[in-house]
Subunit: 478 residues, 2 copies
């Protein structure tokens, strides 16, 4: 790792000691994200104003110092780890939120927590639907960087679908604005959406205008169980074909259900342990729900092996237990988890279930899988024991085969986490050389000195060759 | 204009006479779009297969021949006119459509007409909401190029919001795919959305996967009138603040209403001629409408000077008359129209009404204005007489002032038409030098020889120095 002592000294001189931290503790805390891959930076910048960012980026370009932008640091891919050292630009204090209740918009700075934006919106009778599991800890800037999703993606969309405008800086430091606080904009190339999902490699987002949707008055929850995964997938297709669009449609395979059942000591449906489930939540006005509920209940009666509806929020919470517990409960199967957020098109769900069973047999590893059925985003969790080298190698191999299988089925290697460091070995499965050439050409055009978040996405990084910090983070599912 | 006889001969040799038209008639028909600015190309390519496009683009790069991609040619900005000559790539025969009724997706080739996609979707119980006025003539490829909108943008979104995946070619010819047939995708830079709205300058779209939404069972229409524009805008804000999201929310100022009333010989509301109106259409299940109708009627009773609801589709059509007639009826005020599709944020609607009245006085020109209130996209129509040079000059000046005013109010110079040739003089009002530098860097990176649709967006083009064809096109509002 190259050192930039002279540049860092210049940075401290220009911004002042109060905006540039270089203590060992500050550097350590900025050295890793949710992936627990730690690489020490040389300085952590906490800008106070726009000029601070321009100044820092100009210096970074002059001295070729890597700059990694950071919010809550919850990324699971290592996209927030400063793998090439340099400086970390921490925007977590840029967290102002303003709701425009007439227009149904939120104006949020990059460091605003997603849960805080949601709370502010709901107070005004609006909703910001994207809801990554880490929403209490992750920032909207980070959500924009990886185009975060969550459980509401199928019906409402993902982060990208709610961004009207972005403000921030080009990698070379200039302040820019993309889009406006309006739902239409067709003037010039769309760098707004190019920045979204670019994992902080094409610009620094400092502010966003978000679209909100009216808050549904009611929610209704139904838990359904099926004989096996193929039956569950076949069934859900018939529900969607009726043009029912649940607000949430969570799937848990039998392995995930077993994990939760073991942990809670309770079977989800009495007498029918270990059955895959689909948790459906409808949202809308009482009248809208009156339209859809009977259709969903009739569907459940026809297709499900068992089902149970919630009559109030307490009962709903009870139905949610299996979903909330499953992820943490998986650690009974191994002390380590490769959590892959792949995407599969609806048309190939059944084929994917068959593929996954083969992968389980071949790898001899538990692979509990759950996820968001309305958008095809399934979390495939390959469990292994860190200290068991044979298991580890099988897990590593299984991930590669999973990614190949997913791409062959017309899906995506990531639906909401992004590439970062962890998925670099698979980018070339998803994208042809021509596609990667085009992406790199854009990177070189906007960031000629390659200072923003270098080492991510395009450079092969072998996660398994790097130790992970043995620490617990607030958002860990344990 | 440079000639490329040698390159064109090579093109004919490679693709064959049946795929390359060079007759005077074919060249003329490909020389203009809805803007009626005509520039003759040297050849019109009608590719049969993917390789034809790669071959043509490779040749074009080798010989530096401009290539303008064309669908229905309905663009109002000149974005489809081959201003630098060269070759036109006509994809209008690439018009296959396949509906995936389970997943609610449409797979469409670039040349598919938007109205045909909508019809195919509706047959399967789904809806593709974007609906530009020219939908019977324009292609999805063209809609992607300018990120077309229409009347449903406020509630449902614009073309961009419905595109899951694109296939096509880089400017250098390589075949590429962006995104997948899924609602989540977060793997690599997002060139899909960079292509959308790029007016055919960053790639050739040959195929798209579109997201559909469930077809609403019913529609309900209400026409409301207000004392003046400021009152109408103030009123609509209170409706949106109640979180009512009409499927359609069309505004006509008093000048637009007067045009329609003069043309039809009928006042919209008896005894109250020339009042600005808002046409509201709700869509949903009977139960959903039952939720929203009373709120909208109560709102109308409180804020409108007059209102009338439709009890069936015939009555609805009657209410729609004023909206359908106004655009063509404006030609009573002048034989020429500068139709500017600007966007204003909701918060500044009233200020914009005041601004527009000042502009009318200053320019001494009729400027009837109508548009889509739920997304801020207003069509400002500056009317003048072509042969009256003084009027013409005032119109030209008024457009410039309009654009300045819109940007000062935080809006956009185009909401759905794009820049093309016609709006090049205003791009620098919308975008700072840094923003334009970034856009051009991307253009140079992806299209190093500058062959795709050159002369558009960034190069100043003075429309008023160029004659327009005096012809009538099928989609003209006359």
């Amino acid at each position: 790792m190259k050192h930039h002592a002279k540049a860092t000294a210049a940075l401290v001189r220009k911004l002042g000691r109060d905006r540039v931290a270089t203590s060992g503790d500050a550097l350590f805390r900025a050295s890793f994200d949710g992936s627990k891959l730690s690489f020490l930076p040389e300085a952590v910048i906490r800008p106070r104003k726009r000029d601070d960012i321009s100044t820092a980026l100009a210096l970074a370009n002059k001295h070729r110092v890597p700059v990694t932008v950071r919010g809550g640091g919850t990324s699971l891919t290592g996209s927030g780890s400063p793998v090439h050292g340099g400086w970390v630009l921490n925007l977590s204090k840029w967290n102002r939120i303003r709701i425009d209740a007439d227009a149904g918009l939120a104006h949020a700075q990059a460091g605003a927590l997603v849960a805080d934006i949601q709370a502010a919106a709901e107070t005004a009778g609006w909703v910001y639907p994207p809801d990554p599991a880490s929403k209490k800890y992750c920032t909207i800037g980070g959500n924009i960087a990886c185009n975060a999703g969550g459980m509401h993606g199928g019906r409402y969309g993902v982060t990208r679908d709610f961004i009207l405008a972005l403000r921030g800086h080009l990698p070379t430091g200039e302040y820019v604005e993309w889009g406006a606080a309006t739902k239409k904009f067709s003037a010039g190339f769309n760098l707004r959406d190019l920045w979204i999902g670019a994992e902080g490699m094409l610009g620094v987002v400092t502010e966003a205008v978000l679209k909100l949707i009216p808050k549904p008055a009611e929610r209704w929850t139904l838990l359904t169980a099926f004989p096996d995964e193929v039956a569950a997938f076949r069934a859900i297709r018939t529900l969607f074909a009726q043009r029912v669009q649940p607000a949430i449609c969570e799937f848990l395979d039998r392995h995930s259900v077993q994990c939760a059942e073991t942990k809670t000591g309770k079977t989800v449906f009495a007498g029918q342990p270990g059955k895959p489930v689909i948790l459906i939540e409808l949202a809308g006005s009482p009248n809208e729900l009156a339209d859809t509920k009977p259709a969903v209940l009739a569907w459940a009666a026809e297709h499900a092996q068992a089902f149970r509806e919630a009559h109030d929020r307490d009962e709903a919470e009870e139905l949610w237990t299996v979903r909330r517990k499953c992820s943490g409960a998986m650690f009974a199967l191994g002390d380590s988890k490769l959590n892959e957020d792949i995407v599969v098109p609806l048309a190939n769900y059944e084929k994917f279930a068959v593929f996954l069973d083969k992968l389980r047999k071949k790898s001899r590893l538990p692979i509990p899988t759950f996820g968001h059925l309305a958008d095809g985003n399934l979390h495939v969790n390959i469990m292994y024991h860190r200290e068991n080298r044979a298991e580890y190698l099988r897990a590593e191999k299984a991930v590669g085969e999973l990614m190949k299988g997913v791409v062959a089925l017309g899906g995506a290697i990531s639906g909401e986490h992004g590439i970062g460091l962890a998925k670099t070995p698979f980018l070339r499965l998803q994208h042809t050389p021509a596609q990667i050439k085009a992406m790199r050409a854009i990177k070189d055009a906007l960031d000629p000195n390659g200072i923003l978040n270098p080492g991510k996405m395009f450079t092969l990084f072998k996660v398994w060759e790097h130790p992970r910090l043995n620490i617990e983070l607030p958002w860990d599912h344990k």
